[in-house]
Symmetry: C2
Subunit: 228 residues, 2 copies
């Protein structure tokens, strides 16, 4: 029982169908109600803080940032979501972050229903959603330590190692996001991000190719020493 539109092995879609209709329903592939793929241009908003949370999302390609704003415009980027990552899960009925595509990105949107009902009705999807939530919680908790107690250099080192663990091929990390995004994720300014990268490069820990959107980790041991 798998719905054509969804990616292979995806349990969320079938569960969402059950959730919405009581029992699994076979749907035409062109149905937009669940598991629909959407493409967003660079900078496009997927949802805003306060929007009704009707869907949860899975990144298919590209990268998404979720962020919160203070009234005067200061921004905190809670997380970057890469292909395979689920985002947009909420406890209440509205989004508590806004989500934007960083570059061009495609996401799969799944109609959401109350997580309590979901969890009660379907153990497979419950596990998936609970797991995604747990991951978000762990990420947030580690990030609190970073934001509250680490220096700029340590923040950058931690960030690079984390990204490398998620998307590096042979020690090279292609940054999907700008310096501003990195700064707003790490609680720094773009200038400090830039200076820290320069300093790490001078120390031989990393190498920043000309186009500035990728970073080669030269000395991960040195970075790890900064990480903790």
């Amino acid at each position: 029982m798998q719905i054509a539109l969804t990616t292979a092995g995806n349990e969320i879609a079938s569960a969402a169908a059950r959730c919405a209709y009581g029992q699994p329903i076979r749907r035409a592939p062109e149905s937009p109600a669940l598991g629909s793929t959407r493409t967003f241009a660079k900078g496009a908003e997927i949802y805003a803080e306060g929007d009704r949370a009707a869907f949860i999302y899975k990144v298919a390609s590209g990268a998404i940032r979720t962020s919160k704003l203070l009234s005067d415009g200061r921004r905190q980027i809670d997380a970057f979501h890469l292909p395979g990552d689920i985002f947009g899960i909420e406890a209440g009925d509205e989004h508590r972050f806004s989500a934007e595509a960083i570059g061009e990105a495609t996401v799969i949107a799944y109609r959401r229903c109350s997580l309590e009902i979901l969890a009660a009705n379907d153990s497979v999807v419950a596990r998936q959603v609970v797991t995604a939530m747990m991951r978000a919680l762990e990420r947030a908790q580690n990030h609190m330590l970073l934001l509250g107690r680490k220096s700029a250099m340590e923040k950058i080192a931690t960030f690079l190692l984390d990204l490398a663990g998620r998307i590096s091929e042979n020690g090279q990390v292609d940054l999907p996001m700008s310096r501003i995004d990195i700064a707003d994720h790490l609680g720094l300014t773009i200038e400090t991000v830039s200076r820290s990268l320069t300093q790490l490069e001078r120390q031989g820990a990393i190498e920043v190719p000309a186009h500035r959107r990728s970073i080669v980790l030269r000395d991960t041991a040195a970075l790890r020493r900064l990480d903790d």
Copy 2:
């Protein structure tokens, strides 16, 4: 079907019994296996980072802090847990924070089993645990914004308003925790916490009685202006 030792209306205990034994089992009140109350002295450790997470806890009285350490001793207090709060839920099998009693405190410990099994087997407890996790996630996400983007004064204002919302009687907040704990929660030093409180007092927003362990909110509007 309620187990004698547990507090009234508590679903976690009965679910834990089901979880551990497949079906509900009536246990003698003196059984320590689930819903057991434990008392901790000031500063006593309930569990350490890395400990096997065999229980989840609910605060009965007093206050608990959960925190993470950097290798050189810098500390980030993730949250303060007050009576009624659940803490110690983990995705994996070990604790990712340490938990200590702030003053003398009593907690109720519930034998834990894999959350996936929990969620699959029992919708009532699934809802409770998922709700507690959600709350932890929301707290963490708001706290990231505070740690990453707020000034010292704003941090203190947010902290006081939050605490007031949880334990104030008529605008008076009795702080269970020391300045060091506040500092380590807000990503500040004790000196900065102290100076910020003094400044808020000078501005007439708060009043700090002589014993320094309680705070009267005089002008919540002014605090709210700082909060966001």
